[in-house]
Symmetry: C2
Subunit: 551 residues, 2 copies
């Protein structure tokens, strides 16, 4: 920072480079609103007061807010490249991200992480990539890559910000050497600990896991906060926890909360936003707007030890937005480092497309037949039950296939022929839905009520993968996700059109209106979230840490 | 940290090294009290819950609090060595200190700082020494040493924690090169900005000054907090600000406050404590005790970026105290790194006296006569007015010497013969009080109503300095401060006896009961606190930044 320039600008000895005249500045420290001009110099705020500048922007009494921080997300969940994601969310005032590229890492390993880093280089946002801590998520997973403590060290050298969500809780509690070695590499360690409590939660916090974004009840949140952890309130597409957690936020403890999206699909990102949406939901729940904004800004920057970001105050980075309404609607203007980077929802920066050839053609399936998708019921069988607004499932049992779908998880990295089968209740699919998105190993997941449509949908995925929907033996929806089978190589708007067409096709075959079928399906393979999940080997009980059956 | 050990202890797979059974744990994160056992391993807290240990201490339902942090102090103000200071305050539960050794630095330069660091080496406390930023305090001061930006860099190399209180506000605002260079050296920069406001305060904050401990009104505190600064509420011996600032603390902003003592004399340190006293005063003012404890603990550790200290939570350092009453009285036991270091007010650690020969014999006076202490009144003359509970003075005028004292400030580092004279109202001295403590240059300060007693007191200081009180031509009180003329080489208890004897002598010659005469006198030479002060050159108006007269 040029201290002389800042001093001369702040005291008014020198005209500011840029002044935003007459705005209502949200004071995240004091908790109120201060009316005045914002003076900016060298990308930093010199002062809030009465100023004149080389360039002046009329604030006209609009609100000025610091830009938002998404404390935990996977860009891959929006199924577009990170550079496209930023073009959607920077205009909403979100300019800081802790992004864990663990989806692409499960498919492409370190090369995938490098691709994600290159894709945002030079764009106007602070993208802090985390080192994926659990690739594969558990030892039972059939992923396309394995990342060890050595990779974690290499990741630190190449600039990764911290260790991403530590999902392998049994491994950590069992003192798995590779996990403890990974913890040693980073100061910043994110958590992922659904349902963990008591002394096991203490152990998890004691070794330096700082955060959890998997709380679903106020009690869970309070328990984590008492143990010194930060609670990241998530509002994803399927997992929506802000309403459930808001009761845990008090005047004393609010500084220990942040917001995140974790997994948010492209429609939601485009249409209702990300952290701006979290703030609105919190305000709808009765939270004071300035407190909600503080949670979305300064809390996260301070939690992650990032100085002079997250507030409109002297010496702070000039990352702010101008808004007519404090929390509703889109910002009129977004500034990053004192430069206007978006206006009325439109990004003013170009994407920088880095080469993606190495990320394509990642779907390797064995020769399949319709018979691979049949799963005859023999006596009473376990069933995965799904519910709206949560990634948790319940185990139930059924003696007949009535009202159930069949789901398959097909290994797709090495064409090994490994296929797991399960019954699922709650989707109501009549046809077949297939995708190459299946957390976290991203094998092919397919669900349906008949083997023909399921087979048809899977065949349609090709070698680039993506989404496919089939009905009556015909493909009725298809979107390519040619980058690692996870992200579209197209622009966000084109990808959104394709995605919407697929979603319409999904709605034609899926009657459960309360769930987000593609995202929920993609999580039915994640064996670190209770209660029962399907991987390529068989049906796995997360709570009992064992297979209910194989195959 | 040994993560495996912590995990095994936390989950109960292994007995803890130490368990404090059945305590009411103050939860500074959640804001409440949690009853349980504290399990400790490797100097860290593994968990709070139900535990058994190799060693068990009966908590018997007592309170367990994290240890306190004094966010800004000068050990020298208690006029004992730092190792002796710690023996008084660690038993009160204060185990973290940001100590600015700028008093000794003004006398002995870098060697003085080194002495202070060596004196606490190995003692059970986190003493973070700050680099004295303003030695001398201003360019007008006649100090024993000058420290430049080069010294600041050398200081960082030898482990200084940050840049100490930046008192030279006009120099900073004027972009003085040496000051800006010093700011570049450290991430942590403490402030000292009495009465600063508006755009000048913005400039001060913009260049990275983090804190201010000089607020005297709620409005000043609020203005600093809105600018992203931390406010350190001070309860010294003369300057007591907690009561005045408490109204500025809100549920939203409380995280931006800390406590400090700055300058606290030995009687007060011994009898009412330091940060424990701040907490009690805050609670007396109506603050929730857990919030006051959070301000005294986690707030300071987080503000200064110190991880895993300041709370009783998993992974945190086992620095805590056990108390019968939440805030009243002395802790029964104090633990540092899981080791008991004090019990019932008695330290369980030895002092480590480092050699102090280089710090002795620092008082170099010219040949003086009684005539040097006369200051005849000629017409209407400016007068320094002093008041209780503040270091601020006011300028007034008088045409006669009635009710006034004469004060002299005599250069004592180079025997240059420079002497400043002034009239003072508010002490009511009948006799003479002299000392080698005079902020920040620590020249000889003497006050009295007659030249003979003033001369007698000054003569009694000798070459080692200290305090001397004279009446009717005889020395009636004397305490040596043989280390730099600032600190006693004796034990705290012996120094306290001497100090009390001197204080009694002071009371015999000084009628103003509401002031702390020795400390207040020592600040009448500090030309960075408004409104009018005396140095060796003459009477200086701080507000006008000019001498009212010289000599």
């Amino acid at each position: 920072m040029d201290r002389q320039e800042l001093i001369n600008t702040a005291v008014g000895r020198k005209k500011a480079e840029l002044v935003i005249k007459d705005v209502k500045v949200v004071d995240v420290f004091g908790g109120g609103i201060i009316r005045g001009d914002i003076a900016i110099s060298g990308g930093r705020i010199a002062g809030v007061g009465s100023y004149s500048g080389e360039t002046e922007v009329a604030g006209n009494g609009r609100y000025a807010l610091p830009c938002y921080y998404d404390a935990h997300l996977h860009f891959e969940s929006a199924a577009v490249r990170p550079c496209e994601y930023l073009r959607l969310t920077v205009p909403r005032g979100v300019t800081a991200y802790n992004a864990d590229p663990h989806e692409i890492a499960n498919v492409c390993g370190n090369a995938g992480v490098d691709f994600m880093m290159q894709d945002v280089a030079g764009l106007p946002a602070d993208v802090h990539y985390m080192m994926p801590s659990c690739v594969p998520a558990t030892s039972e997973d059939s992923s396309g890559a394995r990342l060890s403590a050595k990779d974690a060290e290499e990741g630190r050298r190449k600039g990764l910000f911290g260790l991403g969500e530590m999902m392998n809780v049994p491994g950590l509690l069992g003192c798995d050497k590779d996990i403890l070695d990974k913890l040693d590499v980073y100061d910043i360690i994110d958590g992922h600990a659904p349902s963990l409590g008591g002394n096991m939660l203490s152990a998890y916090a004691a070794v330096g896991v700082m955060t959890d974004h998997e709380c679903t009840t106020a009690e869970e949140a309070e328990e984590r906060i008492s143990r010194g952890m930060y609670v990241i309130m998530r509002e994803g597409s399927q997992a929506k926890n802000v309403r459930d957690l808001i009761g845990a936020v008090t005047a004393h403890n609010y500084r220990r909360f942040m917001f995140c999206t974790d997994d948010r699909n492209l429609e939601d990102v485009s249409e209702s936003g990300t952290i701006d949406n979290c703030v609105r939901v919190a305000v709808e729940c009765g939270m004071d707007p300035v407190r909600a904004i503080a949670i979305a800004t300064i809390n996260a920057f301070e939690a992650y030890g990032i100085k002079r970001k997250g507030a409109i105050a002297p010496g702070y980075a000039a990352d702010f937005m101008l808004r007519r309404e404090l929390t509703e609607g889109m910002p009129d203007e977004v500034y990053y480092g004192g430069v206007k980077v978006a206006e009325n929802g439109v990004p003013l920066f170009e994407k920088r497309l880095c080469p993606d050839a190495g990320m394509r053609g990642t779907v390797h399936l064995p020769a399949l037949t319709e018979a691979d998708f049949t799963f005859p019921m023999r006596g009473t069988m376990p069933v995965i039950e799904v519910f709206p607004h949560t990634l948790y499932t319940k185990l139930s049992y059924a003696a007949g296939a009535e009202g159930l779908n069949v789901m398959c998880c097909i290994e797709r990295h090495r064409a090994s022929g490994e296929i797991g089968h399960a019954y699922v209740r709650g989707f109501g699919v009549r046809g077949g839905i297939a995708q190459t998105v299946g957390h976290d190993s991203h094998n092919v997941t397919v669900i349906g009520d008949n083997a023909r449509d399921m087979f048809t949908a899977v065949k349609a995925l090709g070698t680039d993968g993506g989404f496919a929907v089939a009905k009556d033996g015909a493909v009725i929806g298809r979107a390519e996700l040619e980058i690692a089978g996870l992200m579209s190589g197209k622009s966000a708007s084109d990808a959104l059109k394709e995605r919407k067409a697929v979603s319409e096709a999904v709605r034609r075959v899926c009657s459960a209106a309360e769930i987000e079928p593609l995202m929920l399906l993609s999580f039915l393979t994640l064996t670190v979230i209770p209660e029962v999940k399907l991987n390529t080997k068989g049906l796995f009980s997360v709570t009992e840490n064992r297979y209910l059956y194989k195959g």
